[in-house]
Structures are given as C-alpha cells and as structure tokens.
C-alpha cells in the first residue's frame, strides 16, 4: 500500500513540484493551494500524512492542523514554513503537528522524514544532510 500524502501550500507551483518529487519517491500525492479545498478533500478521503504551509488566506495552517486532527485523528501532520519562530513551532505542535520544518529545507530531508513517518524506513538519519 502506497502512503497517501496531502500537500497544502498557497504557492501552487511549490505544491505541484513537491507532488512531482514525492511521487518519484513512491508516494501517492494530492496537492492543493487553497486550504478550503484541501479541508474538503480531507473530509472526503483519508490520508496518512498532511504536509502544510502556515501562512495562507482562508483558514490558515494552524486551523488546518486542528481541523485535520479532528477529522482524521490518525493523520501525521508536518509543517513547512518560511516564517519559523519558536512560538509558531510550539503552537503548531500543540495544534497537532508531529514535525516542524523551516524553509529552506532539503527535499531529500523531507522525503526521509515522510518515509520515516510512513514506516518505509526505520529511523530518520539527520547526518544524511550535507549542510
């Protein structure tokens, strides 16, 4: 069974590219740039992982996290954001995120993380990054 991932980033092109890249890594991916549409889809279908940006118009990332937790209690949520502060990270974790990633991040790190979350690989190896 392929792991199902829902991506939400208000920059459509970023979502599309994340989708393309994650699909190459073997995930099944749906990408949205509107949080309303994403939440609607989440209501209809079950996903294993949610990857969301924080700053968006409409329901923002925090609201999406909380709604996702309520609708799909088993979902694992990951936040990716360019506005990373300790406070937002803490709030995101309280709202149900299991991981908080600040931009810029390495695509391979995101892939590794999602593989860890979906049980494809056992442990996340932070030393894999070259930075």
């Amino acid at each position: 069974m392929k792991t199902k991932v829902l991506i939400l980033d208000d920059e459509q092109i970023v979502g599309e590219r994340l989708k393309a890249s994650l699909e190459l890594a073997g995930f099944t991916v749906d990408a949205f740039s509107s949080s309303r549409e994403a939440l609607q889809k989440l209501e209809e279908e079950s996903y294993d992982i949610l990857v969301t940006d924080l700053k968006m118009s409409g329901p923002d990332g925090m609201e999406v996290l909380r709604a996702a937790r309520q609708m799909r209690p088993g979902i694992k949520s990951v936040v990716i954001t360019g506005f990373a502060t300790k406070d937002t990270a803490e709030e995101a974790m309280r709202s149900g995120a299991v991981k908080f990633i600040a931009k810029p991040f390495k695509m391979s790190d995101l892939k590794k993380l999602l593989m860890t979350l979906s049980g494809i690989i056992d442990n996340e190896d932070p030393s894999g990054s070259n930075e």
Binding site: I13, V14, A25, F105, L110, E131
Partner: protein, 854 residues
C-alpha cells in the same frame, strides 16, 4: 566611538602605545571573522542552487540583508586597519547592494520594455526575457567563451507587445473554442484559422525599429551578405518534464527582409494543434510559454549534428552520444537523414567506444537566395565518416564541459565550419526517464562490498557523483594540460586552479575549506568537490580509476556504474521556480570571483565586482598589511615589552596583544615557557629549543668537510650586539617574530585558528655575512626545506619569501615547530654553504635531525 578612537590613534602612527596595536590587531581579527561569515553566507546560498532545496523569497531577502551588512563591516574594519586606503570599496559595496535589492524586490535589471538584446549581453539570469535556449547560448558565449552564432534575440517583451498590438489572444481563444474535435478536418481547420489570424498580424512599429537597428549592426559586424537563422526559444519550454523539442518552427538561411515574416510564423507555431496536444491546456494561458526568438548569423557548416552528454539509450550511462552528417545537419537533428553515430566514454572522452558510419547520400546546404536545399554527397565521401576522430573527441570534451556547467545532462546542436572551427548552435537540458531520488536500499548493499579508498575524510564542498581517472595537479601546472573528465587531486585549494574546475569531473583536495574561494567556484560550476581530506594526494595515485561519491563522502576504487547511473539523474523539479531564478540572478552579483591573483596589477579595489571579490580583496590586504606593519620593528621601539628567559641565548622580547601570555606573567621577565599561551608561539619555541637545534657546537651534519669550516665563525658570540631587536608580538592565535641573528634578518608572521580559511604562515629571510653566492645557496637551501614543508616559496638573490595558507590548525602547528627548528638551523649555516652539494647535504641533515629529535 571605538571607531573614532582607533582612527585617532591611527592618525598618530608614530605614537607608541600598546593599546594602539591591540586595537589594530582587534580590527584584523574582525576582518578575518567578517570574511568568514561572508563566505559562509555565500556558500549557504550557493547550496540552495543545487535543485534540492525548497526556500522562499523571505529567506533570500534575509540572507542578502545579512550579507550586505557583513560586507559593509568588513570594508569598515579594513579601512580602519589600513588608514582609509580602500574607501572606494564602499561605493562598490553600495552599488552591489542596490542591484541585489532591486533583484530581490522583483525589479528586473533588464528593462521590461526591452524588445531586443544582443547575444553578447545575455546571461542565464534573464531567462524569463530571452527563453531557456537563448539564455544557455548566452552563457556558453559569454561565460564559457565558446563560439556561438552572432546575433540577437527578440525578447518575451517583444512577444507580449506583438500579441497585444494585434489583439491576438481573444481571437485565439475564440478559434480554440470553435474547433474541439480531433478528426483530421477539425485539426486542419484549426491550424488554418491560426495561420490566417497570424498572416494578418503586423509587427508593432517600436519593435520593428529596434529589430532594424540590430539587424543593421549585425550586418556591419558581418561585413556584407549573410544568411540568418530564426529560432524559437520559449520561456518555460524546458520546464517540468516536457521539452517541446521540435514543436516550434525555426527558419534557416533567411534574408534580412524575411526576418519579420519568419518571426510571425515562429510565434504562430506556438499555437498549432500539435503543440496543444503536447503541452495541453497550458498553451492557451496568456502568461504561459512566452516566446522569445533568436536571430542568428548562419554558419556555413562543413559538418553538423547533435550530441547528448549522456547516451539517452539508457544502456551506457558512462557514455555520451554524437550524431553527425555533412552540411547543415538539418536531417540529423530531425532524425530523418542517415548519419554517423559515435559513442564516446564520459570517463575518458578520448575513447571512442563505438562507431556506426552511415551512407550519407545527400546533405543540406544553404540555397540561393534563401532557404536550404538537399544536394548529393560526392560518391567517394558517402561512406566516409563526416567527422575525424579528433573532431569527435573535441565534441565529446565540449559536451562534458557543458554537462558540468549546466549541472545536468544536455542535448546540443553543433557544427564545424569551413575552417574546422566548432560552433555551438543550441543547448538544452536532456530529459532522461525519471528515477527515484532516494537511494534504494539495494544500492547500499551493493556498494557495501566495493573497495573503499577513503571514507568520510574531509568535508563535501559540492555534492554529486563522478568517476574517472585521477590527475594530480600542482598549482603551477598548465591548466590546459588537464584532461577533460579527469578527477583533479590537489594539495591546496587556490583560486589559481579555477581554470581546471571546468574541465574536472570532480575535485579532491588535501587542505582547504568548504567556504573557501575554490569551493565557491566548484559550486558555481556544479563540480563535485571534497576538501580537507588530509591525504588524498598520497592515497590516490595518478591515473588510477576511482568513483567519487560526494553525497556520502566516500571514494571507491574503480568505476562503479550503478552509482554513476544514480548520479546522472539530476533532480530538476525545483529549478525553474521563480525563487531559483531570483537566486541565480542574485548570485551573479555575489559569488563569482574575478580577483584571482593578488600579484596581478588588476588586483585593486575598483575591480571588485561581487561581494566575493570584496571579501577576498579585504582578506588579502589585511594579511599583507599586518605582515608589513609588524615587519618594521621600529614601530615597537620604546614599547614596554617583556624579556623571555629561554634555555637558549636568543634575547627575545615579547609584546602581548591579548591572551598571548598567562595572567601570571606580569613581571618584566617571563621565566617559564609555559607562561607563553600564544598557540603559534608555543609551537615555534618548541622547535627552536628542541635538543641540538641551538647547539653552539658543530652540528651532527655527518659531512666532515663542511663541519670544519663552520665552528670558528659561529655567530653565537655576536648575537649580543643585536639583542633587543629580537621581538615577538603575540596574541592567543597570532605571532609575529622579528629576529636578527648574525647578519641575517628573519620574520615569521602566523595566525592559527579553528577556521582553516584564516590560517597562514609567512616566512621572510634575508641577508648574511658571506659573499653573494653563498648567501644565495643558503637561500636555495631554505627554499628547498620550506617547499618540503609545503610552503610556496619565492627566492630572489638572498631573499626568501614563503607563504603557507589554509591548512588545519594541527598541521600549521606541526609546520611551525619545523620552522622553529629551521630558525636555529639557518643561524648556524651562515658561512658553510659552498656548493650545490652542500645544499643537498644540509637539506638531508635538517630532516634527519628532525627525525632523530622525534
């Protein structure tokens, strides 16, 4: 405040005041630290260009701000340190900062209403204006300085103006809506309607004026009649997983008067039915695929064709493929003509691994007065190869350079002209079938059994995978001799080796740091690089085949095809995001290094064109100034110094700039060696006071004839005359020692820290009591010894100047200990150098004594 105070102090340079030196030295350290922060910020930005990162505009804004601030600080500190000698750096910095701000805020550097740009002015950062293929041609022409056709580009702004002027979009949408069927009739009807629409379109007068001006100029440059090629280059056509190869029209051998009608036909081809099938709904969106068009001088081709930097058949990732025929190569590109096919090793482009010579019955040539025609190939030539082996190799080397430069496999159109010169006509990314980017676990298992030469030694400066033959490089080697596709193994990272970077498949160095200048250039060219491995030069033999995994930092013996195959797969899904264009654009003003050689007359502040230039210039000047400042020991006369009591009669006084002495050393004399806390000073003293080094007895040289000549003239009894002039200015990490021993004068200036980029040793030696020839021989001996210790040495008469840079602290301290021994050793050599043989004898004796002392 501090700034003012220091400036005041500096304006009284003759005032003797320890705080003056301390303040200056602090400035020096701040310059080094600032320089390092600048280099780290630059390398962080460059890493983001690898196509593996997700980032946004806020990130770029904040890094650019930090960078501008740091560069400004470095310049301020340098000017305090150098008595305002480099004020012009401020205006250089301000100009660059302004440009960066414009780029990051989205003000295009090239004006939006610029309809025409010459190829001479095109770089990849204006891809949005000239389209991907034209941007690549600009890079190839202006950065790589290869031959490309002369000419100019009608920009995407010209395209927008054309579409608006003729009000074409509403009509196109109408036509599109009207023909929805996919039967032959509908398709033909649709295409005809598009043709009709465009045939009535006119070139806007302002665009026409600009084009006419550039056509006239091109005409002048070409000195007379010439044919023109009109070629499409849409922005975004190479994006994602589509290439639109062959979808848009091009016209060969047009006359000037045909340019406008050809232009309109090229634009029309963007809307054809087949393009819609290929590109989908996207082609009907007004912002998508804006079309730039190149107007190029035709090259009279003797032979021409295409090549792929990776053989796309997928069976041999270690090979590239060349297809060629006589004439203009139109058929080869289109795949219709019978052509010659060559396969060449990527690991060694001089190896043609396979060839298939086709029967070439016809060739395409320019027709009179316009267009192209097919003519028969002379019968005796039909079965002959259209390229010589040398030409195939030249092409293969070129393909590898371009692959390296664009950091991905490429598809290249080329031709050889009547004189046998190679021209690049087009270059675009080669689409290979996508493969998973995360390493499959099977690969890890397969690799586990492969022989490893080096594992996790040093740091990765640019990640990637490469394989090839080792080629050891010295700084003074001719860069042109470096074989394209070989793996460069070298002791140091130095900007002087920059010119081999373009030719190398990978670079491995003994010393250096990932934020050093050479690493920056490697990232610029996407060449995998591992630095600071300590002993790559020892472990990797010249000519040995290796595979470099600069992702996991492992070097394998032999060529590992499975790893290579994974490596050629460039993940480019993010590279065409807007942020990437902005970043590339920014980096053009930040990271190229133009000031390479500090000894060249062009190494001046006014020539700093990027932040990297400013950082490099400031660093170099700061070190030079510090050395010169402390070389003049008169500056220290009258300063309160402390006598150092040593087991040898050196008569050395010490001035502490901070952390050079332990706090207990507050008397006027330093009794114990361990009161010296200056790390480099400790190392030098350790060498200087090691057993036998300062003996006034004959040395254990082991060659009797020399020994007899030396003892009587020992300088030990004369040293007293010069006492007081032996001075060390030290801090925790720094030491400057000026020694007058006998009749020679010796200066050592050194800085040692955790940051490899800061570390250096400067060694200067001059003078003596004997006649010129002997002094020169001694200089040669010192040169030989220092070179063996990895210094770069210049000798002029009896003057020896040597420099060693960018080694790890531990290694610098080892060398300093040897330098300490050398100081003692040379002191005893003043009179004994008689012949070339004595140089060699003494050289051996120095290193023999060194071993005995260990």
């Amino acid at each position: 405040m501090v700034f003012d105070r220091i400036t005041r102090i500096f304006r009284r340079p003759h005032a003797v005041d320890l705080s003056y030196f301390k303040a200056l030295f602090e400035k020096f350290q701040q310059i080094l630290e600032g320089n390092n922060r600048v280099l780290e910020l630059i390398s962080g930005l460059e890493n983001k260009l690898s196509g593996q990162y997700i980032f946004d505009i806020n990130y770029l804004k904040s890094v650019v701000e930090q960078l501008s601030e740091e560069v400004y600080l470095v310049i301020s500190n340098l000017n305090v340190f150098a008595d305002n000698r480099y004020l012009e750096l401020f205006s250089r910095q301000a100009a660059i900062q302004k440009e960066l701000k414009d780029i990051v805020e989205g003000h295009p550097v090239t004006s939006e209403d610029m309809y025409v740009i010459d190829y001479d002015d095109i770089h990849s950062d204006i891809t949005e204006i000239v389209g991907g293929k034209n941007a690549n041609l600009g890079e190839i022409r202006n950065q790589l300085e290869m031959l490309t056709p002369d000419g100019f580009v009608l920009t995407t702004s010209a395209y927008r103006r054309f579409m608006e002027y003729n009000n074409l979009w509403p009509e196109i949408h109408r036509i599109h809506a009207g023909y929805q069927g996919d039967d032959k009739e509908s398709i033909e009807g649709y295409d005809r309607a598009i043709d009709d629409l465009f045939s009535s379109a006119r070139i806007p007068p302002d665009v026409m004026k600009a084009v006419t001006k550039h056509l006239n100029e091109l005409h002048k440059r070409q000195k007379g009649m010439f044919g023109l090629a009109v070629r499409s280059s849409a922005f975004g056509e190479d994006a994602q997983r589509q290439s639109f190869a062959g979808q848009f029209k091009s016209f060969l051998n047009c006359q000037s008067v045909d340019v406008f009608s050809a232009y309109i036909k090229v634009i029309a081809s963007r809307f054809k039915y087949a393009v819609g099938i290929y590109g989908g709904q996207r082609i009907y969106e007004e912002t998508e695929l804006p079309m730039a068009v190149g107007i190029q001088q035709m090259i009279a081709a003797r032979s021409a064709g295409v090549m792929y930097s990776v053989d796309p058949s997928g069976r041999r990732v270690d090979c590239l493929a060349v297809s060629a025929s006589f004439g203009l190569g139109v058929g080869v590109v289109g795949g219709t003509a019978d052509a010659d096919h060559f396969q060449v090793s990527r690991l060694d482009p001089t190896q043609i691994t396979n060839r298939r010579i086709g029967t070439k019955r016809t060739e395409m040539v320019a027709a009179e007065p316009r267009g192209v025609k097919s003519i028969p190939v002379r019968e005796d030539l039909q079965e002959r190869p259209s390229l010589t082996d040398d030409q195939v190799i030249e092409l293969a080397e070129r393909a590898l350079l371009l692959d390296r430069y664009f950091n991905r496999p490429v598809d290249i159109e080329w031709c050889f002209d009547d004189l046998g010169k190679l021209h690049i006509l087009q270059c675009r990314p080669l689409k290979l079938p996508p493969k998973p980017r995360v390493r499959p676990s099977e690969m890890a298992d397969a690799l586990a059994s492969k022989p490893v030469i080096m594992r996790r030694q040093g740091q990765v400066a640019q990640s990637g995978i490469a394989a090839g033959k080792v080629w050891q490089v010295n700084e003074d080697d001719d860069p042109g001799a470096f074989p394209v596709g070989a793996i460069a193994v070298t002791k140091y990272t130095t900007p002087r080796l920059t010119s081999i970077i373009r030719r190398a498949a990978a670079i491995i160095t003994d010393a250096g740091s990932p934020s050093g200048h050479m690493a920056t250039v490697a990232r610029e060219f996407g060449v995998p690089m591992i630095v600071n491995t300590a002993d790559a030069c020892k472990l990797l033999a010249d000519g040995e085949e290796i595979t470099v995994d600069a992702e996991e930092n492992i070097i394998y013996k032999g060529i590992l095809r499975e790893l290579l195959e994974y490596g050629v797969e460039a993940e480019d899904v993010f590279r065409d995001l807007r942020e990437y264009h902005i970043l590339r654009h920014l980096l053009r003003r930040i990271s190229p290094l133009n000031l390479l050689d500090p000894n060249s007359p062009g190494f001046i502040a006014d020539n700093c064109r990027t932040y990297h230039d400013i950082a490099r210039f400031s660093h170099e000047k700061a070190v030079q100034l510090l050395i010169n400042l402390n070389m003049s020991s008169r500056r220290f006369r009258g300063l309160k110094s402390k006598k150092l009591k040593l087991s040898i009669p050196l008569g050395l006084s010490v001035i502490d700039l901070g952390n050079g002495l332990s706090s207990s050393a507050d008397a006027s004399e330093i009794d114990e060696m361990d009161e010296i806390q200056s790390v480099p000073m400790q190392a030098i003293l350790k060498g200087l006071t090691s057993p036998g080094v300062w003996s006034t007895q004959p040395m254990q040289l082991g060659f009797g004839d020399l020994v007899s000549s030396l003892t009587r003239h020992s300088m030990s009894d004369r040293v007293a005359e010069y006492q007081g002039q032996n001075l060390a200015v030290i801090s925790g990490r720094y030491a400057n020692i000026s020694l007058r021993l006998g009749y020679h004068f010796n200066v050592i200036d050194t800085y040692v820290s955790e940051n490899v980029n800061d570390n250096y040793i400067y060694f200067r030696f001059v003078g003596g009591v004997t006649e010129t020839e002997r002094r020169h021989l001694r200089a040669i001996l010192i040169k030989d010894i220092l070179e063996k210790l990895d210094f770069k040495v210049a000798v002029s008469g009896d003057l020896v100047v040597a420099r060693l840079k960018k080694l790890e602290a531990a290694r610098v301290l080892q060398v300093l200990e040897e330098v300490g021994r050398l100081i003692g050793f040379t002191r005893q050599l003043d009179t004994q150098m008689q012949s070339e043989e004595s140089v060699q004898e003494c050289f051996r004796a120095f290193f023999r004594n060194g071993r005995n002392n260990k």
